[in-house]
């Protein structure tokens, strides 16, 4: 019994922490409609700045409170600067580009933090009041966590007062409800957005600083925290504060009990909660229906088969690719193999994201499932692995797709991201099966295909063949119907198309081909690791597709080759690849909202 009470209290404490970070995210989304990846960075900065301040202060509760507030204010100021410099330019951009640009910010902040504070985890010394416990029957519970439990509802209450009792709050609620109307009434949107962003950032900073005594300031928390915060916001309903608190409670408590029941798969449990909520209530617990319909900008040019010049260029490139083993040394050849795999991976994402209209943020899940399937089922028998891996990935994609095709826009992006995180967590936590972070080694092509040149030709045939097959499907009736359902859902329905079935099949095909790419990658590298499923890998694919242009059929091919080349060059030049890549992403989004190939296609 006492044990259950302590678990419940632990759940409530983590609910408070979750709420603090989710509250800022949801308020910002409600008003500006920007899904802000870099919110995790603001949380992380809250922890680092908090550490820098608190380490210099006397170690008693009052000074602690002052230091935490100071950190929150500092992060609020940083958030205001970020809004003024970057986000203000993105309010009109398609939401995918906003997500991507803020992910770029996250990368930049990671490297800057590394430069300023170094790579070591920073912890606070724990004075007696931070080590104190209260007795719950036979069990002990940290006093500080009791304080955290109280802070969540306190912040909710303060925010509620702010929203209900002040002019700023009224404007904020009105803007969440109907942005155009508020603008039409002559409210200064710029000032309102800046204020909201500052408030949200300060909340993130507060959360980061408050998390210090129980954890440490480290370079991993930004991504870890943002994924959980996204889950809370989506489950609660985007833009809803009470919803965020409810969702934080639901997730915090199920996590603290889940860790007892299934110690290995707590992350899975979190995302299972989300999947159930979204399946029953796609707009989240307290979300309104209106916010779930994403405004997306759509193609305005017809997709046409390749021109003669493009075919000629493609044919020449293919000849070069075929001759590569005769021209290149071992290292460039392995880079070329990776480029081929990237082409198929990008093409499979483009298939769902472009013509399918389903922006997936967790496409690495299918790549990783394919790689692990090959490694686990057919470590030494490549022929079998290359058949089983796509079949397995496709089957899982078909099952998961049932949820996916019922959502759209940001919700869909977040659900796919969450699923990829589940697969990632499974790969890194199920050590007996997957070897955890040590991965699985000795995945090899054997016999005559083991020769680098032969393997290269095989990869070329599978990957380019796969990409061309996807392209063929897009020009067949199925591909047209898929685009029709994306272009005008009502019209598609009225001519008798089943949009959900079309999208489900597209999602399955995409998952299977990404799985094929993953399995080829596993045999090419000789090993598999959880990083194959990480957010970084998903973002790689997104960048390749966006770099090439979503609306063009050749886009993913061009994008994949350009990206692989640039990335390899970047790794050779600098350790600070996150900083450079992040800045490149931000610059790219600001300069080419259509992507490279998209730009080339314009007159």
């Amino acid at each position: 019994m006492d044990f259950l009470v302590v678990q419940l209290l632990t759940g409530l404490a983590s609910a408070s922490s979750l709420f603090l970070i989710a509250a800022g995210l949801t308020v910002i989304f409600g008003v500006t409609r920007v899904v802000n990846f870099s919110h995790g960075s603001l949380f992380m900065l809250g922890a680092y700045i908090g550490w820098t301040i608190l380490i210099r202060l006397p170690r008693d509760p009052l000074w602690f409170a002052a230091g935490v507030l100071g950190a929150a204010l500092a992060v609020g100021a940083l958030g205001a600067a970020l809004e003024a410099v970057l986000l203000r330019r993105l309010y009109r951009a398609p939401e995918l580009f906003q997500l991507l640009a803020t992910f770029g910010v996250l990368l930049i902040v990671q490297d800057l933090t590394l430069l300023i504070w170094g790579a070591d985890d920073l912890t606070l010394p724990r004075p007696p009041w931070l080590r104190a416990f209260v007795r719950v029957g036979a069990e002990r519970f940290p006093l500080y966590d009791l304080i955290l439990i109280a802070i969540g509802p306190m912040v909710l209450g303060l925010l509620w007062l702010l929203l209900r009792r002040t002019r700023f709050g009224i404007l904020l609620r009105a803007a969440t409800e109907n942005r155009q109307m508020v603008a039409a009434l002559g409210v200064n949107q710029k000032a309102l957005f800046s204020a909201v962003f500052t408030l949200g950032s300060a909340l993130a900073g507060l959360g980061g600083a408050l998390a210090l005594p129980d954890a440490s300031a480290n370079l991993q928390i930004d991504l870890g925290v943002i994924v959980e915060a996204f889950v809370v916001v989506v489950v609660g309903g985007m833009g809803s504060l009470p919803g965020a608190y409810l969702a934080a409670l639901l997730i915090g408590v199920s996590q603290s009990f889940g860790i007892v029941l299934f110690p290995r798969i707590t992350l899975v449990l979190v995302f299972a909660v989300m999947a159930v909520v979204l399946a029953l209530r796609p707009q989240g617990l307290l979300g309104s229906e209106a916010t779930s319909t994403a405004e997306t900008t759509r193609a305005s040019r017809p997709v046409r088969p390749a021109s003669r010049a493009a075919r000629l260029a493609g044919g020449l490139a293919l000849c070069l690719a075929l001759a590569a083993p005769l021209l290149l040394g071992p290292y460039p050849l392995s880079v070329a193999t990776e480029a081929m795999i990237a082409v198929l991976f990008a093409a499979s994402l483009h298939f769902t994201m472009g013509p399918g209209g389903m922006p997936s943020f967790g496409h690495a899940a299918w790549f990783g499932i394919g790689a692990y399937a090959a490694a686990l089922l057919a470590r030494q028998t490549m022929g079998m692995g290359l058949v089983l891996a796509p079949l397995f990935a496709g089957t899982v994609a078909a099952g998961f797709g049932w949820f996916v095709v019922r959502l759209s826009g940001v919700y869909l992006a977040m659900l796919t991201l969450a699923f990829a995180q589940i697969v990632w967590a499974a790969a890194s936590q199920l050590v007996d099966l997957t070897g955890g972070d040590n991965g699985i080694l000795g995945v090899r092509a054997t016999g005559w295909v083991a020769a680098p040149s032969v393997f290269y030709w095989l990869a070329l045939a599978l990957c380019l063949g796969g990409a061309m097959a996807l392209r063929r499907v897009l020009f067949a009736p199925f591909g047209y119907a898929l685009r029709a359902a994306r272009d005008a859902p009502l019209r598609a329905e009225a001519i008798g198309l089943d949009a959900q079935a079309l999208r489900l099949v597209a999602f399955t095909i995409s998952g299977a081909t990404a799985g094929l790419a993953g399995s080829v990658f596993a045999y090419a590298k000789g090993s598999v690791f959880p990083t194959y499923i990480g957010i970084g890998k998903s973002v790689d694919a997104l960048l390749m597709v966006l770099l090439g242009g979503v609306e063009t059929m050749a886009g993913p091919v061009v994008g994949a080759i350009a990206y692989t080349g640039l990335f390899d060059a970047l790794l050779l030049i600098t350790d600070l690849w996150r900083l450079v890549l992040g800045m490149a992403i931000v610059a790219l989004v600001l300069a080419f909202p259509d992507g490279i190939a998209g730009r080339a296609g314009r007159r």
Partner: protein
């Protein structure tokens, strides 16, 4: 027997009775207009016929079959074509491809993965485009069409399934007056020639009076008048609703 029969359709939203017991019928080849002031229940009534909404009570019969619980997708398979108030076409396709897509959907060829779609139903698509006077624009992008042309393209797509019934929601909304008359004359010609029943809602009274064979007038969820143009013009209740005369 009438092609389309609505029997005592009812629909409420909360406390509001949007449609309160509306019955009417429509024959093949007939043009029926559904009119009424704003908030009269036109859209609700119309959406119960096309499957977007399901009635609280009452039935919709198409050639004797109850279709009041079917989705828009199923309706299209039973020969119901539609056009939308805001023209909805596939913007990533050419004009011809839009019609080809409709033909592919209607002939059940969607689940094909290999042969290029561009080669399918070319002659049929061009014939439909010629019918609506768009033959010369077949290669253009649907996204660059003038609004009147978009409406004509929609009509060609709606006709792709050789429908028995055409449901048109404000077919001339947003068009220039000259285009309006031309489009409605075209619809009327096609309805006559192919025996298609047409039901349309409309704000533009000129379009209604010059093309409809019969007119239904709704007010506050009730059917208050029914008849040809002359009868409706003379009806005192209609005059009261529209002109505020006692």
């Amino acid at each position: 027997m009438s092609l389309l029969v609505a029997e005592r359709l009812e629909k409420s939203f909360g406390e509001t009775r949007a449609v309160a017991g509306v019955s009417f019928s429509l024959d093949a080849g007939e043009m029926l207009a559904l009119i009424g002031p704003n908030g009269a229940g036109k859209s609700t009534c119309f959406n119960m016929l096309n499957g977007q909404l399901h009635p609280d009570s009452g039935r919709v019969l198409l050639a004797g079959r109850d279709i009041s619980r079917l989705s828009p997708r199923h309706m299209s398979r039973l020969g119901v074509g539609r056009s939308f108030q805001l023209a909805a076409t596939f913007t990533s396709m050419t004009v011809r491809e839009n019609v080809q897509m409709a033909l592919i959907a209607q002939s059940g060829e969607v689940w094909r993965f290999v042969r290029p779609a561009r080669a399918l139903h070319v002659a049929e698509a061009d014939a439909l485009l010629a019918l609506v006077g768009m033959a010369d624009q077949a290669e253009r992008a649907a996204s660059v069409l003038a609004y009147g042309d978009l409406k004509r393209l929609e009509l060609a797509m709606a006709l792709a399934g050789t429908p028995r019934l055409l449901l048109m929601d404000e077919p001339t909304a947003g068009m220039a007056p000259v285009d309006r008359t031309a489009l409605m004359a075209l619809v009327r010609r096609i309805a006559r020639a192919r025996g298609v029943a047409v039901l349309f809602t409309e704000h533009d009274m000129d379009a209604v009076f010059s093309t409809a064979d019969r007119i239904l007038v709704l007010d506050q969820g009730h059917l208050i008048a029914e008849g040809d143009a002359a009868a409706i013009r003379a009806d005192p209740r209609v005059r009261a609703v529209y002109l505020g005369e006692a």
